[in-house]
């Protein structure tokens, strides 16, 4: 290849090294794939994969252990932050992240989530909030919006009967342990870039030993929402974002300057 040709060619887009070259099982239009990619891109940029242990949870992301090139553990339903605590406490030199859905993190695993955050456990949590149980068939999640139809709220979620949604970032914001808490979404390229910045800050928080970090990602579930992918993105922006505002809730001192 001539020098001239080399100058003409440069890689502008490729699969991140931290992502396995395999087909994912996620439905078309689901934003899990983007979130996985962002995790992998940040792992690449910070050269984390060789010293990372990722914790997959139970739900649609149960197979996340197949998609990252780092060591992975599949945890019991709701227990990912407890498992991450076990790894991180005995091996503080490792980078440890969990990847959990809303049912896993905010329903069955809420105690583990709150206490890991309260302890300031030095781990990073990627929290996918799509307001529904995808894997099990579209049941009500702890984050299902009032009025939203699911297989267990067929007439729409009535808070008087089925309770109110939980705003996890807001709830954890009252604790002393978190070093970084942010809510992002992936509905357009600008939001994807913002989300990636948040992932990076969350990971940096752990690398700097600042404490618990979590990024809540408002995500779509076209299959269980019963919408085409584009409409699902619009529905998210029109319905979820007003209920779950996009912002940084906690940013530890040492992270403010970092982008």
């Amino acid at each position: 290849m001539s020098t001239h040709a080399q100058n003409q060619q440069s890689v502008v887009f490729e699969r991140p090294q931290s992502l396995e070259p395999v087909r994912m099982h996620y439905c078309p239009g689901c934003t899990h794939g983007i979130a996985h990619r962002l995790v992998a891109e940040v792992m690449d940029e910070l050269d984390l994969a060789p010293r990372t242990v990722g914790i997959a949870s139970v739900g649609c992301s149960v197979f996340a252990y197949n998609y990252f090139t780092c060591d992975m553990i599949e945890a019991a339903h709701g227990r990912a932050t407890a498992v991450a605590t076990g790894v991180k406490r005995v091996r503080p030199d490792l980078f440890v992240f969990t990847y959990q859905g809303d049912g896993d993190l905010a329903s069955i695993g809420l105690a583990e989530t709150v206490h890991a955050a309260a302890r300031g456990e030095n781990i990073s949590v990627i929290f996918i909030n799509n307001a529904v149980y995808g894997m099990t068939g579209g049941q009500m999640a702890p984050t299902t919006l009032p009025g939203m139809k699911t297989s267990t709220t067929p007439f729409g979620r009535d808070p008087k009967l089925a309770g109110n949604p939980i705003r996890v970032c807001e709830m954890l914001s009252s604790l002393e342990g978190p070093a970084y808490l942010a809510r992002v979404t992936l509905t357009n390229p600008r939001q994807v870039r913002r989300a990636k910045q948040s992932f990076r800050k969350a990971f940096k928080a752990q690398l700097d030993g600042l404490g618990f970090s979590m990024v809540e990602v408002l995500s779509t579930c076209p299959t269980r929402w019963g919408m085409p992918p584009q409409k699902a993105l619009e529905w998210l922006e029109g319905n979820m974002v007003p209920y779950y505002p996009l912002k940084e809730f906690v940013v530890a001192e040492g992270l403010r300057e970092d982008t």
């Binding site: 060789p50 780092c70 060591d71 407890a82 498992v83 790894v87 490792l94 206490h115």
Partner: protein
């Protein structure tokens, strides 16, 4: 102050158990308060930092066993302890540990049950301990001490067994063994955890090797069966190598009393009393409850006229004894429940009522 070694000292069972774990190279403990095992976490809280290990009081038993799962995944020797209701809460995690082929040690200082029960000594978690306990097709490898010295020795040994078979090991004690103080000798030798062989399957960073995955999810039935058969093969191996039991006065015995743990402490006194009365009785004490000394008990049933099973539960151990005996001799039960410990006189009375049968 360092613990005196190589000489007789007075120690509480729960504390001996925790010291044994430290001496076995255990460098992580996750637990949650519950009586009558509280001196175990207290001891770790006080002494784990001396050896550079991790002690963490978890928010629940459920969280504690999943922290064990994480630490075991990272390849370190790790333990949790609890008592009956707390052990029930840990069962989901123990099932995951077993299916993911992760070694760890779990201590159950049993109390009276069911439900909240009470905090008195009992053996009512026998089925839960030896038949699996949680969901699925697995067992825990179970050792049952009957003294503070054995509580130390068997806790220590459980770490070796757990690593050897890549499976959770369970130390089955009770409120009496946990709370009482007895003289014990703590040996001089301790395990340096850095000297232990590396665990090539551990998720401890994939630097310079292909990634490792710790998992218990196998969507294809054939894959799952293959894993279960591999685990079962280890249990078969353990049945060949890890059978432990003790015998007292059985050489010429007409009657055998069969008991483990605290019940065996009562039974051995009753056997002495029976001998004084001219009844030729002896005691067989299983120490490994899973794998169970079935072959040895079958051989015993060929020699004696009858077997009396003495347990602090209402007919759990006796089922495994009957499976082992297969009708070779009559098997009778003396069981108390709810935290009641029978007296030697109760046992003697039951020995006297055993069927006369014919000499063998």
């Amino acid at each position: 102050m360092p613990i005196p070694r190589g000489e007789r000292i007075l120690m509480r069972g729960n504390e001996a158990c925790a010291q044994a774990a430290l001496d076995a190279g255990c460098r992580a403990f996750f637990g949650y308060p519950i009586t009558p095992q509280n001196q175990v976490p207290d001891y770790f809280a006080a002494h784990m930092t001396e050896v550079g290990g991790v002690f963490l009081q978890a928010e629940s038993e459920t969280a504690a066993i999943n922290m064990v799962y994480g630490a075991a995944s990272a390849g370190v020797r790790v333990m949790t302890a609890s008592s009956s209701p707390g052990i029930s809460l840990k069962q989901e995690g123990i099932s995951y540990l077993a299916e993911s082929e992760l070694p760890c040690v779990i201590v159950n200082v049993m109390r009276g049950g069911s439900g909240l029960g009470n905090i008195a000594p009992a053996q009512a978690d026998y089925f839960q301990a030896v038949k699996g306990g949680g969901h699925g097709d697995y067992r825990t490898l179970v050792l049952a001490p009957w003294s503070v010295q054995e509580f130390y020795d068997l806790t220590r040994e459980s770490f070796e067994i757990a690593d050897r078979y890549r499976n959770p090991a369970l130390v089955l004690a009770d409120a009496l063994l946990g709370q009482m103080m007895e003289p014990i000798v703590i040996p001089d030798d301790v395990v340096d955890p850095t000297s232990l062989p590396r665990k090539p399957w551990a998720t401890d960073g994939a630097q310079g090797r292909p990634r490792n995955i710790i998992n218990s999810l196998y969507i294809e039935a054939l894959d799952l069966e293959e894993v279960n058969l591999r685990i079962q093969a280890r249990y078969d191996e353990a049945a060949k190598n890890e059978i432990r039991f003790a015998e007292e006065n059985l050489d010429d015995a007409d009657y055998a009393v069969l008991a483990y743990g605290t019940a065996a402490r009562v039974a051995v006194t009753a056997v002495d009393h029976a001998r004084q009365r001219g009844i030729r009785a002896g005691m067989f004490r299983p120490i490994s409850l899973y794998p169970f000394p079935s072959r040895e008990i079958a051989a015993l049933a060929e020699r004696v006229k009858a077997i009396l099973v003495v347990e602090l539960s209402l007919g759990q151990l006796v089922e495994d004894v009957r499976l082992a005996v297969e009708g070779r001799c009559p098997v009778r039960l003396l069981g108390r429940s709810g935290g009641i410990v029978m007296t030697p006189e109760d046992v003697l009375e039951s020995i006297a009522k055993l069927p006369a049968g014919s000499s063998k």
